[in-house]
Each structure stands twice: as C-alpha cells, then as structure tokens.
C-alpha cells in the first residue's frame, strides 16, 4: 500500500502531462489520470511487483488518453483548437514575448499523430531515454527513434519556414 502510494505520488504529474499532451484538454486529461489511478488501484499488488511500474502506468495513460481522444467530444474540441490551448494556458509563460511562437509550436505538435506526439513529449519534457520511452509507449526502439527524428524535423521546418525569432 505505502509502496503503491509512493509510486503514484512520484508519477502522477508525469501521467497528467502525458495525458494533456495527447488529449489537449485539461479536464479530459484529469479524467484520464483519474481513470488510470482507479484501474491501477485494482491491480496495485501486481503493479508494485513490476520491474518498472511508472512505465506501465504511463503506457496505460497513453492508451487511455488515445481512447478518450477518439471519442466524439474530444474530436470536436480538437476541431476548435484555434482558441488558446489549455496546455499553454496552464503554464506560467512569458506571454508577451513568445505567445505566438509557442502557440505555433503547440499547434504543430497537436497535428502530429498521438504516438509521435507522445514520443516527443516523453523525450523533451520527461527526459526519458529511448528504452524507457519504448517501455512507456509500447512502441519498438526503432519506432521511437523514427518518431523523434520526424517530429523534431517537422518542428525545425516550422521554425525555419516562419522565421520565428524570440524577441
């Protein structure tokens, strides 16, 4: 029980960020994490015995978030993402200087497939190595490397194309 609680405490923010990256909606992301925690509680005895419980939880979060993303409600929300995204709104940004630039980056990321988005997020935000990302996403190592390469390439193209310069 204590072991399970400490695992959850250590990983909860990461689960939320990953869910938010996939569903792009703060309320939906919260629901995803809640569902994952409820399901994981029922399997807590098995989870504490795993080699890498956080990876298992993150994989479950990714799957849960993608399932939720497929629902009509979230699809509608994505179609109207011209509005300021929750992902950005939740962070203490230097809004005046970089809002447009970060908004462009965010919108480009949201256009990527969920798997590719998840890989980029886990590497750039959570600082996970390829093996950890593969465990957390259920993808192969080569898929992880490919998604990362392609995702970064697209971001570079965007930045160069629009000549976005941080003022």
């Amino acid at each position: 029980m204590d072991q399970y609680s400490s695992i959850i405490t250590s990983v909860r923010d990461r689960l939320y960020r990953l869910a938010l990256r996939v569903v792009n909606d703060a309320d939906e992301a919260e629901d995803v994490v809640q569902d994952v925690l409820v399901k994981s509680w029922k399997k807590r005895d098995q989870i504490v015995g795993l080699d890498n419980p956080p990876a298992w939880l993150m994989r479950m979060t990714k799957h849960q978030a993608i399932d939720r993303l497929r629902s009509a409600k979230v699809r509608c929300a994505r179609e109207t993402e011209a509005a300021a995204p929750d992902f950005v709104a939740h962070t203490p940004f230097q809004i005046t200087a970089t809002n447009d630039t970060l908004g462009h980056i965010h919108r480009l990321l949201q256009q990527l497939p969920p798997d590719q988005r998840s890989v980029l997020h886990l590497r750039e935000v959570e600082g996970m190595d390829y093996k950890e990302i593969a465990e957390a996403t259920g993808l192969s190592l080569s898929q992880v490397k490919t998604y990362l390469h392609r995702g970064r390439g697209k971001l570079r193209g965007l930045l160069l194309q629009q000549r976005i310069v941080e003022s």
């Binding site: 629901d31 950005v88 959570e126 390439g153 976005i164």
Partner: protein, 155 residues
C-alpha cells in the same frame, strides 16, 4: 559551450542523434541567452519544452466526475419498485365491507298513527272483529277439505 559546438549539437539533435546529456547542454545554451544569430529561431522550441515540464496535475479533484451509471440495474430496480407500488395501491383500493354505505333504519314515530278519536277507535275495532269472525272458520274448512282428499285417496 561555443556557438560552433551548439550548432553541431543542434544539427545532431534534429537528426535524433544526441544523448540526453547533450540535449541538456543545448537547453543550458539557449537558457543562457547569448545565442548566435544563426540559432535565433530555436530558443522558443526549448523554451516551450521547459514550460511544458512545469505543468503539474491539479491538487484538488474537480467535483462530480461523471461516471457511467448502471442503467440496466437502475431500470430493473425502478420497474420492481413501480410494480410493488401498483400492487400495494391495488390491494389498498379493495373496499372494506364495513365501508359500504348501509341505510340506517330510522325509528318510526308511531305516535302520529295513534287513534285518539273514540268513535274512530270503535269503528276500527268493529271492523277488526268482523274480519276476525268471518275469517275464523276458514282454517277448519281448509283442514276438513284436505282430510276429505286424503280419505278419498286412501279408498
């Protein structure tokens, strides 16, 4: 880190060839602020990732999480309750026998029929005695007639 090293690392970064340590060096370079003009387009990207890493899960759970209700169970329970209520109402609607309205016999005020006139009383009494005297022989006559019938049958 020199600008040249940063450029080289950045090229490798976009090819997906950098290690986590090298990526951290790149972040530190862009965070420092002294950036070569050729690398000017890229600070927002690293800034974006850093900001994304600062997001934390809400401490307080939003109230009223919508969960899927066990609709079938609720429908079955509701149907059972309605059925019980109907039965209860039906049986309670059967009227008790004691609840039927019964006409109560009103006491008759015989005093208004009482004969107070002596002549009227005499006339009534005469009529009654006359009737009695004329009818008193009917019983024996019937009996004699019936006995005659029996006797004839026995012969």
């Amino acid at each position: 880190m020199t600008h040249t090293t940063a450029k080289t690392l950045l090229d490798r970064y976009f090819l997906g060839e950098t290690t986590l340590e090298e990526e951290e060096q790149l972040r530190a370079y862009f965070r420092a602020g002294d950036i070569h003009p050729d690398l000017a387009p890229y600070p927002p990207l690293f800034s974006y990732w850093e900001q994304a890493g600062e997001i934390v899960a809400p401490k307080v759970r939003r109230p009223a999480i919508q969960r899927r209700l066990p609709v079938r169970w609720l429908a079955a329970v509701a149907a059972a309750v309605v059925m019980l209520l109907c039965l209860h109402t039906w049986f309670n609607q059967q009227p008790d026998l004691s609840s039927f309205p019964i006409a109560e016999a009103q006491p008759i005020d015989w005093s208004k029929y009482e004969v107070t006139d002596p002549e009227e009383a005499y006339r009534l009494l005469r009529g009654a005695l006359k009737t009695a005297s004329s009818e008193i022989n009917r019983g024996p006559e019937i009996t004699i007639r019936e006995l005659g019938e029996v006797r004839r049958m026995l012969k």
